[in-house]
């Protein structure tokens, strides 16, 4: 079917670009490996958990950095958590931003932290958008009667 072929190509091209541009790393592939017939929504479920957790963390970070006296340890704790979760799902650019953020926390550099938070927000919503697009493409392929191509490293 022509439409399936087109969608599959779109999916492959899009996936390739996500990995190529560093939005996703090998860990995302590891997640795919864990998904199977008995757990067909595993990746989607983990990513949804990531979305919820991340948005909560971003709010907590904003609040923590707005305090009269900023508790950098608390800020660092949030970033540490974010670094962990983004690493676990393979959101590489988000993870890298967290690494930079932690350095500013250590230096107690408020300006640096605020800038990082801004960039972190940006990177997070970028990857969220991209993952949602990816899931949408997968759904479209399946609805058109095709199977989702498997990407391997």
């Amino acid at each position: 079917m022509e439409i399936v072929g087109q969608l599959q190509k779109q999916f492959v091209d899009f996936s390739t670009s996500l990995y190529g541009e560093g939005f996703l790393d090998e860990q995302y592939l590891q997640l795919q490996k864990l998904q199977d017939e008995s757990n067909p929504d595993f990746v989607c479920e983990v990513v949804s958990l990531f979305f919820d957790d991340s948005e909560k963390l971003l709010n907590n970070l904003a609040t923590a950095l707005q305090q009269q006296v900023v508790d950098f340890k608390q800020v660092d704790a949030h970033v540490h958590q974010f670094k962990g979760s983004s690493s676990s799902i393979g959101a590489q650019r988000v993870k890298n931003m967290c690494v930079a953020f932690r350095n500013f926390c250590e230096e107690k550099n408020l300006d640096g932290c605020l800038r990082c938070l801004q960039q972190l927000n940006h990177e997070y919503f970028l990857v969220k958008n991209k993952l949602e697009t990816l899931f949408r493409l997968e759904r479209q392929i399946v609805e058109a009667g095709g199977t989702v191509p498997v990407i391997v490293a």
Binding site: T16, G20, E26, L49, H80, G84, V150, V152
Partner: protein, 210 residues
């Protein structure tokens, strides 16, 4: 308990305060055919294992709980609020009832001194996060080691009681066992360089057609 358990699935208790990591480790373990229980703190892990701290200094184990819950391995995150994975490890190794359960530590941070401390305290393995299927495959030998031990312990229970106290003391002074110097060191060596030496993702993608 005993031989009948060998036929059933192995039961792993996973401890992690991150909901995402709990989901991940659960899936990794299920994929390797383990029966999994996940908890979000060290305290809950101890409760699950039947630990009830009574009024005295010694932990009182509820025999009923202990019999219903058979755990063949504990895998725990290191960085957790309240009780860290290391604290949990210590409590387990200090307990005459729990000390034989193999414990594996996971951490997102590659800190050689941290790894050493855990291994010296009795952890079997130290996994860097994110944990992979290849890591989970390493768990079987540790579980199998204790399956044999358990049947022995049942026979020698009375003899072992006195030995237990002195063993705990000498273990704390012991230098790391030689078997630590195999692939467990791998994480430490990798820690010396800023990047982990995992295969890096590159553009050499291939697509498997279905």
């Amino acid at each position: 308990m005993g031989l009948a358990a060998a036929e059933a699935q192995f039961h792993v208790l996973a401890v992690d305060d991150s909901v995402i990591d709990r989901k991940l480790i659960e899936m990794l373990l299920k994929k390797t055919s383990y029966h999994v229980t996940t908890v979000d703190s060290g305290r809950k892990a101890l409760e699950f294992l039947g630990w009830n701290e009574g009024n005295s200094d010694e932990a009182i184990f509820s025999p009923k709980n202990n019999q219903e819950v058979e755990v063949n391995l504990i895998i725990t995150d290191y960085c957790m609020p309240g009780m860290t994975g290391y604290d949990l490890l210590k409590k387990i190794k200090e307990s005459a009832v729990l000390r034989d359960i193999p414990v594996v530590i996971m951490s997102s941070e590659n800190v050689p001194s941290r790894i050493n401390r855990c291994l010296e305290e009795g952890a079997e393995e130290f996994f860097l996060k994110p944990v992979r299927l290849a890591d989970v495959d390493k768990l079987k030998p540790h579980i199998m080691k204790t399956m044999g031990k358990e049947t022995l312990n049942h026979e020698n229970q009375d003899n072992d009681k006195e030995i237990v106290e002195t063993e705990i003391q000498s273990q704390q002074q012991q230098t790391p066992q030689s078997n630590i110097n195999n692939n467990k060191r791998k994480s430490m060596d990798e820690g010396l360089s800023p990047d982990r030496t995992r295969p890096r993702y590159n553009n050499g993608l291939t697509v498997m057609s279905n």
